[in-house]
Symmetry: C2
Subunit: 215 residues, 2 copies
């Protein structure tokens, strides 16, 4: 195998990059990310929804999902609503709502609901206090369980436990795997570029003396 | 807009699912993830490489990346190597190495190098102690800076600072964004399914009174 000649950049050079260039570069070079809309209410029931691309799987038993919040140097509605109410929802972004999802990142005034500003529809299940996004095919209701404050830069890892989950039944295979291609779930790079993934390969469980095969 | 009828599952039902089904379900329904090979050495220089899909962006200034390790209930070579040496690399997975990347998840004996077992090639830069994966188009050398132990399930968030970064020069646009489509970087769902994303749309910065446009 011959290898492509690669460019090299070091930490001191990264720190000297223009701010917006560095944000685009570091956020995009690191790979594809899930795009989710997090919906909350404040203590008066005012609804908020905002896009996040920093989800991380924490565990399956119990089902736990983390996401990283930027530092609390300015008021963060999603953070304060989660801390006040204890509940929030994660709503998956698909091709039909990609513009609206992106538009939730605009800095609307606190009294403006991003739902109405972006023409998205709040929906409530029978047993959960936070609003879901009606338009999403996959919606998860989470209970806040833990936060970790990252010392090195003040970001916060918020961890929630899935309380209920809504999904199209026909996307789940016999072994539990979800087919996100079928519902056109998108992936994101950087802060602004949305991609549609297509399945390439699925492999069997890898073992040392029985190499995994395509399934 | 009419909405698809969705299936509903609650936490008590999720907890009753068969273990492997629940792992597949929760890991895949939550969205696309980046796939990276983390390479390390132990204190004797023995090389290790293993696939992880739990990367999360922590910051751009300084450039920080996190990933989640499973609990230390069994020995974890990647974890102990990072703690002993202080350095590791993240190497992006693309279509040509997807089988080998998956195969690194097999439980090889401690004395076996996953590089040789899976026919992957270690490569060292001039100034960094941990091995890179020669075959990767995007390679990052990280210095360990922080760990956070998640109380709720014993997983560990490991945070590293990028010290140097290798990438094909022609994938970076004028504003710093990387074109991962061009180098066939893959995304993963669950533990075993690899996808090739294709760009759908890129939007301008979203503002309340000047809605974002496709760029």
């Amino acid at each position: 195998m011959t290898y492509q000649k690669l460019q090299n950049i070091t930490l001191p050079e990264i720190l000297k990059l223009e701010k917006r260039y560095r944000i685009n570069f570091i956020n995009s070079i690191t790979g594809y990310k899930a795009a989710s809309l997090i919906a909350t209410t404040n203590e008066n029931g005012a609804e908020n929804i905002a896009i996040f691309s920093s989800m991380v799987h924490i565990g399956a038993n119990p089902p736990l999902i983390g996401f990283v919040m930027r530092p609390l140097t300015i008021p963060r509605q999603t953070y304060s609503n989660i801390k006040k109410t204890g509940f929030y929802t994660l709503n998956q972004v698909h091709t039909d709502i990609v513009w609206q999802a992106h538009q939730t990142s605009a800095k609307y005034a606190e009294e403006v609901s991003e739902f109405s500003a972006t023409d998205l529809t709040p929906w409530y299940s029978d047993n959960f206090p936070a609003p879901y996004l009606a338009e999403s095919h996959v919606k998860m209701g989470l209970k806040f369980v833990e936060e970790q404050h990252i010392r090195v830069n003040g970001t916060i890892l918020i961890i929630g436990e899935i309380q209920e989950l809504f999904y199209p039944e026909n996307i789940i295979s016999k072994d539990g795997s979800a087919d996100l291609n079928a519902i056109e779930t998108v992936a994101i790079t950087g802060l602004d570029t949305y991609h549609l993934p297509q399945k390439l390969k699925r492999f069997s469980y890898a073992r040392p003396h029985e190499p995994s095969i395509e399934i």
